[in-house]
Amino acid sequence: MSTATDLNRPAAPPAFQEINASRRFKNRLATILVGGTFVLALAPLVWLLITVIAKGFQHVLNADWWQKSLAGLTSRQFGGGVYHAIIGTLLQGLICAVIAVPIAILVAVYLVEYGKRSRLAKAVTFTVDILSGVPSIVAALFIYALCITTLGMPRSAFAVSLALVLLMIPVVVRTTEELLKIVPDELREAAYALGVPKWKTIVKIVIPTALSGIITGVSLAIARVMGETAPVLVLVGYTTFINYDPFGGSMASLPLLMTSERLTTNEVGEARVWGAAVTLILIITVFNLLGSLISRLTSLKTK
């Protein structure tokens, strides 16, 4: 009886359906759009790299380029190098990092570990937000007004570094903040439960856990500020000589060399500008690679 009714039941429809045509079409459309915008975004970057390398790479293949300055060369003489500007860029970037990184990390630690949602923390976050929107020329003019006009300091590489500090702090605060936030609270609690004081938990557990990411963030930020142009234009004079003193005298840097030598409207100037552009890109690339190498070495391992 029951078997008879079972046999009379209609065959069950297949449980799974095919992907219908409209969904397949939408999927293809989305794939094309995403791929297309990717190519669109990539095109200017590739174009820029090809142009810079095509015009400048031949000039940096020379050992002199990396070891000599332009001292004593007129604007019609080929030869010399950009050592003076490389030193300037590295020195200014380094001084900036030495000042900005500790401040920024402490600010981020305050915001994530201590301030939480307090009024002061909100005010600090707001300030950092504003600072990250400040154009580099405004930062440069602020330092000019503060240090040079008001405090009477001479124009110097150090003033440049101070302006770069203003640009670097918000970037490092933001990345460090995000990285500290993703350190699970369970690790903090595990440390507290062992009788570890809060500050030690932060220094020995929380920061080391986030360290690899923080290093990447810092190296990206350094690379970023080394290409800034407004501060060097406003706050330090250009020179073709090598200067190691950040507190006095003119000091070249790659962006400054490029804007200065751009005024030399002949093949010599062109060679210097494009060569410096390649050099700057190379230095920034090296910094990024170095950053990701260190961050890989310090990253968390499970095996």
Partner: protein, 258 residues
């Protein structure tokens, strides 16, 4: 070493929310006390208040007394850090420090407290790992990261880490809930071992586990959603599971709850 705990009229709050109401209980030394009860009744909250981990959560606060061998851990002069050094804790999810090796995880408490003698640390590490029944499995890879162990091994690593600082009391919040039955048994055996040296309080949702490992059982319950949780009764585990004095306890244990 092992000390007794006396809780007197403890009220626990999260901001304005009154989470636990008027708990009083006593835990004798060298004894395992199990906390059971429905989800949200405040077992973890009470447990965390026993070593002042409750107040780590922003806005959380405790009223009442928790006496450790007669000394109030909530007295205004007491440093919570020193309380936590005396009363260790193992969490529901294993949480080894990801930046540290197995050995460093175990001795983290001592190392961060300033102990620098390598030989002593090595000794403590071995002792604690033996104590946590993990030594045989990890003795050849002490320098490997703790995160590379299996879940059950990680949990025993966390127990080793907790006992390495030689606390008087060990608090465990559902230490087996993320583990398979075999690792669970390993940890239950371990609790029986640890009982010789420590006072242990364990939260569990597993009735059989409470019956197997504990000497006395506390049943917590809450009257309704948004109401504070409270201690219904605390008695010898045998009595709780055979002949509880409260109807609510009997209903909960026999599965007739709610």
């Amino acid at each position: 070493m092992a000390k007794r705990i006396d809780v007197k009229d403890l009220n626990l709050f999260y901001g304005k929310f009154h989470a636990v109401d008027g708990v009083s209980l006593a835990v004798p030394p060298r004894n395992v006390t199990a906390f059971i009860g429905p989800s949200g009744c405040g077992k973890s909250t009470v447990l965390r208040s026993l070593n002042r981990m409750h107040e780590v959560i922003p806005g959380a606060r405790a009223e009442g007394k928790v006496l450790l061998d007669g000394e109030d851990i909530y007295a205004s002069t007491v440093d919570p850090v020193s309380v936590r050094r005396t009363i260790g804790m193992v969490f529901q999810r294993p949480n080894p420090f990801p930046t540290m090796s197995i050995r460093d995880n175990v001795v983290a408490g001592l190392k961060l407290a300033g102990e620098g003698d390598r030989k002593k640390l090595d000794e403590v590490a071995e002792q604690a790992l033996r104590g946590a029944n993990l030594w045989a499995e990890v003795k050849d890879r002490l320098t490997r990261p703790g995160g590379g162990l299996s879940g059950g091994q990680q949990q025993r690593l966390c127990i080793a880490r907790a006992i390495a600082v030689q606390p008087d009391v060990l608090l465990m919040d559902e230490p087996c809930s993320a583990l398979d039955p075999i690792s669970t048994l390993a940890i239950e055996d371990l609790i029986q071992e640890l009982k010789k040296d420590f006072t242990i309080v364990i939260v569990t949702h597993n009735m059989q586990q409470a019956a197997r490992v504990s000497d006395q059982t506390a049943f917590f319950n809450l009257a309704g959603v948004g109401q504070p949780g409270r201690l219904v009764e605390l008695d010898d585990t045998e009595r709780i599971f055979s002949n509880p004095s409260q109807k609510a306890t009997e209903d909960y244990i026999s599965g007739r709850f709610g």
